[in-house]
Symmetry: C2
Subunit: 121 residues, 2 copies
């Protein structure tokens, strides 16, 4: 798939709750995922299993009540940005939160090889 | 300046119409500016003079009627993202437009050394 198709499908998957299935379809086996800051476990994980584990952790901690996903914004033929606007509740405390974050996705050989997240602290 | 200060000042400058003065204060002499796509003159320019020229071209072509600039969103200690939501009018045609774009700024040795823009086509 080309960048445009990958980007469109990633966004569609996020909007339709298919993001976990899309990891297996769109991501390279040894893709890297990088957080904005180290919150105790390092910023970077490598490999699809570790990226699935990040999703599982996030889902176990948070109940999402609203997510808006922008259209993909390309930069050249190997990267695209997506803006996520999220509202949710921390399951442990019950506290609500709202956050906005930018994901930058790097594509090589028809797969997502790196995702990087930017957000305020 | 550290990334956090540079990012805060870049955003303040964009909100207060001081972005041109900030080029000289915050950017490296040989900073690189990269557009999302080649619209006829290549995607990349290098050097402060060329980046000023991009601003002059943009201001000569467009009258901005509304610009919202997000808070900076850091990624590690060498990059940050800013979301720009812009409304304006093409001076030649009089047509209005609205666009959203993500800027990724790279910082090294206390200066912005690279800016990259992501937007839909």
């Amino acid at each position: 798939m080309e960048l445009k198709e990958i980007a469109a499908e990633l966004v569609a998957g996020c909007r339709e709750g298919r993001e976990r299935a899309n990891l297996d379809r769109l991501y390279s086996q040894d893709a890297v995922s990088v957080e904005a800051a180290d919150q105790g476990n390092g910023r970077e994980v490598r490999g699809l299993a570790a990226i699935h584990a990040k999703h599982e952790w996030w889902e176990s901690e948070n109940e999402m009540t609203g997510v808006t996903v922008s259209d993909p914004m390309p930069h050249g033929d190997d990267r695209f940005a997506v803006i996520f606007e999220m509202e949710g509740r921390d399951k442990a405390s019950g506290e609500s939160f709202a956050m906005r974050e930018v994901g930058i996705y790097h594509v090589a050989d028809g797969k997502i090889v790196r995702e990087e997240f930017f957000y305020g602290m």
